[in-house]
Amino acid sequence: MLGYFLIAIIFLWMMFSYISTTVWRNTETHIDWKYEALTSDLGPSPESEIRRRISSYIKTSDPFAEIYILQDRNGKTVETNYPYQAILDDDWIVLDDFDEDSCERLMALQNEVRLPLQCQDSIHEEHDEGPNLGWFSISSISEILPLPNETEGYVGRVGKIGDYKLLVGRSLDLVDETRDAASFLTLIIIPISLLMALLVGLFVSRNVRARLKVINDRCNEIETSGNLSLRVPDTGPDDEYSILTSHVNGMLGRLDKAVQNIQAVSDDLAHDLRTPLARLKYNFETALSKKSSTKVDLQTALQKGLDETDSLLETFSAILRVSQIQTGKRKTKFQDFNLSDTIDLISEIYEPQAQENGHDLQCHTSADDMALFGDQEMITQMLSNLVENSFEHGGQNLKIKLSAKQLDGQIIIALADNGNGVSQEDLPNIFDKFYRGDKSRQNPGNGLGLSIVKAVADLHDAKITARENDPGLFVEIIFQSTSQRP
């Protein structure tokens, strides 16, 4: 903070001295310009020409801003707009140079007459052009040159034109006005602005800190309590902090969902795996405990156990598969393949079984060549699971229709059956892991088939929907086929 003020003070001082130097330099330039305009190219009769020029200047200039005094060799004023008597004497008015001595002389004079004195080095720097050129400050000689009204004094240039002496002066009022304005600016306006900026900065940073504190506190709370259902409250206006808040909340939401999913999976695992494991154990215990068990009995029990183990292993594989698909790592293996071939394969695989079970499986594609960008193996698995789902939960004598068509750059795969369908309340959940509607609980399967379908669809950024087919189930998967090509 101290540093800030120090820098501000140095900056202000530099600014003030720059402005004041500039003001003096401008004044000098102005006087020089006037002087040169009066004295250059005077022609054959310089005295009469300069008188003519001065008289025309006087007519248009304000005596309180600029004064002109022209005196002949006897010290008699011949042209002027200065209302008082002025004596331009080499001895004490005309200063050849503003050297240190001159300044001291003027300072001494100033003390005597108590008038402001301008003794700036910059005044004379560029005007050492000859013995008849000099600079002076009229305020220092105001005894002789009484000041009109409240005028603080004049600053000007005296020179000799032939036998004449010429004074061109400019009111210090004008200089002072500018300097006052500069002082006002640098000493009052800018410090106030800086102070206000400081206050605003403090306010903003307090505000920022307050808003960050809300986020930090909540993150800390979540970190210590492990409660992922908490969210960061969005307190402020719609700005970067509320975007940050919504990102943090979005992340928390995802995390929360993932953890909930894991919890749900482990709960379901506990249920879906513990039950068959328990059955397995009872099966073996019973076989072992019966003293009358024959070799055939034991073999039957072992075979039952083996079957049970197979089904357990399958459930495990399915769980692993879902999580593997969900990691999205397989996207690197995407390539164009012909979906029609895949549908044909599905037809070939399931047609015989469908016939055997009295179902009617129809597979149809709108074109023989239907390029889909994706993972062929995953899509095959997905379609296979869809058909198996109908087989397992649809009921008897089903009509199952699997179709794929290309429409407006999209590829739409649809599976429709006329089986038992899914009840309205079960529909939103059928893609959840281990979800099994009440109707399907008695049917075989591990409740993971459709979650694999959903996981594969998600991997391909495809939109999957399920609805009632009246009767039956209708599942639709829409691929944005062409747009995903890199």
């Binding site: 598969r321 790592k329 015989p352 995953m378 198996e388």
Partner: protein, 225 residues
């Protein structure tokens, strides 16, 4: 046959070693990956069975180092990592086949036979395969038995071709699904049974000697007379 098994699970190793011994094969077992690699580098084995996760050196590295050292002994991964990526990684590292635990010994045996056969008989481009009185023209995609043309669907032909290329060897269900249908999961349908039965009726029809044999609990085999 001399088999090297690198496997850190003692139970699984016992199962494989005892099953192999029963068939009269000589099986050597290493628990540690590094020690297994040293043994395998001798090039002294007919087939290598390697677990993916091993102490001190994992299976993928073993496969890569062996291939880098120009040891071409057939290698089969035995693993619990059954993701598709895992399988692809395994084959990329230089394995000849990939078997997911738990597996039946008959599956392992069929696959060992298959990789050995591939290794011994470098597949030479051939135009036809003749087995007994069955002739398969691989260019024209026609099969003939006893001078009679047999009309086969493309998939049936592919199935027959695979069985013929591996004649006298067991082809398991999963091997057929992988090689003939190109799918790496078991759709739990009778697709194989129905194709085999169709193929049988076509090539074994007319009271000829049945060529396609069912090997109980293992798979199918095309008989070479």
């Amino acid at each position: 046959m001399k088999v090297l098994l690198i496997e850190d699970d003692q139970e699984a190793a016992n199962f494989v070693v005892s099953s192999l011994s029963q068939l009269g094969h000589q099986a050597e077992h290493h628990v540690d990956g590094q020690a297994g690699l040293v043994a395998a580098l001798s090039g002294d084995y007919d087939v290598l069975l390697v677990d993916r996760r091993l102490p001190s050196l994992d299976g993928l590295s073993i496969a890569r180092r062996l291939r880098a050292a120009d040891i071409k002994t057939p290698l089969i991964f035995l693993t619990t990592m059954d993701g598709i990526d895992d399988r692809v990684d395994g084959l990329d590292a230089g394995a000849d086949d990939y078997l997911v635990k738990p597996f039946s010994f008959s599956e392992l045996r069929a696959r060992m036979d298959a990789v050995m056969r591939r290794f011994e008989k470098h597949p030479v481009p051939t135009e036809s395969i003749q087995i007994g009185d069955l002739k398969i023209d691989l260019v024209k995609r026609i099969a003939r038995r006893g001078g009679e043309d047999i009309h086969l669907q493309p998939r049936e032909f592919k199935l027959l071709e695979y069985l013929a290329r591996n004649a006298g060897q067991v082809a398991t269900r999963t091997m057929l699904l992988e090689q003939v249908w190109g799918i790496n999961f078991d759709p739990k349908t009778n697709i194989i049974e129905s194709h085999i039965s169709r193929l049988r009726s076509k090539i074994d029809g007319n009271d000829q000697e049945p060529m396609i044999k069912t090997v109980r609990g293992a798979g199918y085999m095309l008989h070479a007379f």
